[in-house]
Symmetry: C2
Subunit: 122 residues, 2 copies
């Protein structure tokens, strides 16, 4: 597996990194917080906590939940939530592109895996 | 405090992010693992673990330790270690530059702090 890169937005209201973005994308894909949590192998409690955290951090909600309560109703991203995901993905892509020569250099100077073993060439 | 961004290199041998880079820079600055740990408010045990982890992950050491043992001797970065720091910093700077419009947008759509309070204008 070649070297890769992840970005994380930092802000006094909290960080937004790969984990929260994956949850937003899963909610968008599944239409439900519980299904999103399952698809990420995350507890519903944890997913709900992250949803509340994000909706509180932004001036307007990024996730909308519909009538039916925590487990009965559906969920999805607001237009703001969609834009957060899109801007994160764009930043990630641009950062990866800028980092490309450094990532290929890391592939050369790092061992192949944690054990440090590399299969013999040829 | 405005929105900012951090990058993290991912690789099967382990991630290299702001924490490990800060430790490398502190070792370079202080010339000792114990002084570096103190300057980062990190336990010596933790710093030594990270040094061992990094020296094992790379094909050649990134940190050199001199005679005198774990606490008696000095430490510094090898040429490889210097290059890891330089390439991380360059990637971070380029990523931040690419992210600039998105970071300014986040400043607009996120509340000012975790409590969500914003001092009245004027």
């Amino acid at each position: 597996m070649p070297a890769d890169l992840r970005v994380r937005f930092l802000h006094p209201t909290g960080a937004i990194g790969p984990g929260k973005i994956a949850l937003l994308e899963a909610i968008d894909r599944t239409g439900s917080i519980s299904a999103a949590a399952r698809s990420l192998d995350m507890t519903f409690r944890r997913a709900w906590f992250l949803v509340e955290t994000m909706n509180t951090a932004f001036r307007e909600p990024v996730i909308r939940t519909s009538i039916g309560g925590r487990e009965g109703g559906g969920a999805g991203l607001t237009a703001l939530g969609q834009e957060v995901v899109a801007r994160y993905r764009q930043t990630q892509d641009e950062a990866r592109k800028a980092a490309e020569p450094h990532l290929r250099w890391l592939d050369e100077v790092l061992k192949e895996d944690a054990a440090g073993s590399k299969p013999p060439a040829g």
